[in-house]
């Protein structure tokens, strides 16, 4: 007989970085779009509308980068559900099978959901791509940021990107990656909602509490 176990799955760093990222990405998107299409909010040259928006963008950018660093570190020392291995489901046969099963479920071929404790295998594979997009945002962002101080620390660290791509291409990529992240977010919130209903494991609340209800055979 199977039993329902309440399992501690998401440790604090995973949850904190997740929700911090949500806040920060929304902030970065709003401020970023303002930077791209600014409104003439200033009444006098001593106002600082764009100044503050850019300041918030850069503060949020630091939080975002630090959050990713914390999550990367936790993927080395955290529990198995947060380990870096979970993001490569296609590398082990069990997860590969789960991935196929999930895809079959998503495409309405199959009605059975595979049994999962940590990340759903397809989602986990997508998260890896999202982390790459995060890196893309951070690299293009800091390369743009470095331009105000040639020869400074950031210019030395990220300046090579300006040479490889040119500033304008970096800006275009910064926009492109943003839209890809936003596309992911739409899909992601929908999938979490769907799984919350269908798995009945309380997946959304698990991202707040850390606990998931798991059926054990």
């Amino acid at each position: 007989m199977s039993k329902l176990v309440i399992k501690y799955v998401w440790e604090i760093p995973v949850r904190v970085t997740h929700w911090l990222n949500v806040v920060v990405i929304l902030t970065l998107t709003a401020t970023g779009l303002f930077i791209a299409h600014p409104l003439s909010l200033g009444d006098s040259p001593s106002d600082f509308a764009m100044g503050w928006v850019r300041f918030i963008h850069f503060v949020a950018a630091y939080v975002f980068a630090i959050g990713l660093a914390v999550r990367a570190y936790w993927s080395l020392v955290g529990n198995k559900y947060s380990s870096w291995r979970t993001f490569f489901p296609y590398l082990n046969p069990d997860d590969r099978q789960r991935m196929w099963a999930t895809l079959r479920y998503y495409t309405f071929i199959d009605r059975r959901l595979p049994h999962v404790v940590g990340h759903n295998a397809v989602a986990a594979a997508a998260y890896f791509l999202v982390f790459l997009l995060y890196l893309g945002m951070i690299f293009t962002g800091f390369a743009l940021y470095s331009e105000h101080a040639p020869g400074g620390f950031y210019a030395q660290t990220f300046g090579w990107l300006t040479h490889l791509f040119s500033n304008q291409t970096l800006r275009l990529l910064h926009h492109g990656f943003m839209w890809l992240i936003l596309g992911f977010v739409i899909q992601h919130v929908y999938s979490c909602w769907l799984m919350d209903i269908k798995e009945r494991g309380g997946i959304i609340s698990s991202m707040f509490s850390g606990y998931k209800s798991i059926e054990e055979e």
Binding site: L113, L172, W193
Partner: protein, 382 residues
Amino acid sequence: MGNNEYGDDPVSAEQYFSFSQQLAERGVSRRDFMKFCSAMSAALALPVTFVPKIAQALDEVKRPTLVWLEYQSCTGDTEALLRAASPTVAEIVLDILSVDYAETIMTAAGHLAEANLDKVVKEEKGKYIAVVEGAIPLKDGGIYCCVGGRTAVDRATEVCGGAFATIAVGTCASFGGIPAAAPNPTGAVGVKEAVPGATVLNLPGCPLNADNLTATIVHFLLFKKLPATDSFGRPLFAYGKRIHDNCERRPHFDAGQYVEKWGDEGHRKGFCLYHMGCKGPETYHNCPTQRYNEKTGWPVGSGHGCAGCSEPMFWDRMTPLYRRLPTVPGFGIEATADKIGLGLAVGTAAIFAGHGVISAIRGEEKMEGKKREDLIHDKDRR
């Protein structure tokens, strides 16, 4: 007169040149000269204590030889240099140089002219300065630009390779510029790329700012070496700061006061040109401080956004000139990155909304594992 135009001394092809005398002849006062020296020390970001040193260096200077090669160009840089309405000290500084070859302005022509150049290359190896204006085509053996029957790349390799240093004036000579714009039919490149072995200093700009050339030469006369450069080979004194960070309209940028349309109220009030595609935020040049035409103006000062002309490949990378972002490859000219992105987001939302509807009306699915009713909490069991 000696046996050659440099005087009797056969070893030195340089000549002592009395600067004070030149100034007097041209009717430039000592005061104007000192003002010029201060301006130069400011341009080069040297401390004031260098002003007398600059004056002294210019006074005592030996006359270095300079040859000016012109390839795929519009002659805008020559024009920028010759534009002065009245004789200025800067002009005289350029006169200090013994300009032995310059296609546009020299009197000699044909074989005689080429012989002049040959002589410099042979007799002053490693000592003369070569200035190159215009790009150098490499495609099909470089046949798209020939002077005196020889290709530009062939001649430049010889002349720039043997020079003490080469100064690439203008964006075309520095990075290929407009001749190198896509699809670059002649395979045009900048001097450094065409002659990798040469010591090249890039002074890009469309055209270059003649003051930066003067300052570079003053630096050379003063220190006997070329100024420090950035990774694009541009001297830091002129290209070390971003236009956007020195721009007189910057307070309007930070405040949030933008020109929204050509000729609107903001435009008349001198607001920031960011909306109008100004490339100041991606361009390094000292235009806001040095300015053009006797320091009277520069594009942004005159109400037009920066075109990014001193950056590599600006014609391809900084266009469309009146838009902030480049167009997305593979999409129409009206498609901006954000329109495409928004389309992507809406498309994604539509797809998943559809998925949601289907999921909702589909029959109850079975989970792996047992029926819900059989399950009890772990806690209750303990």
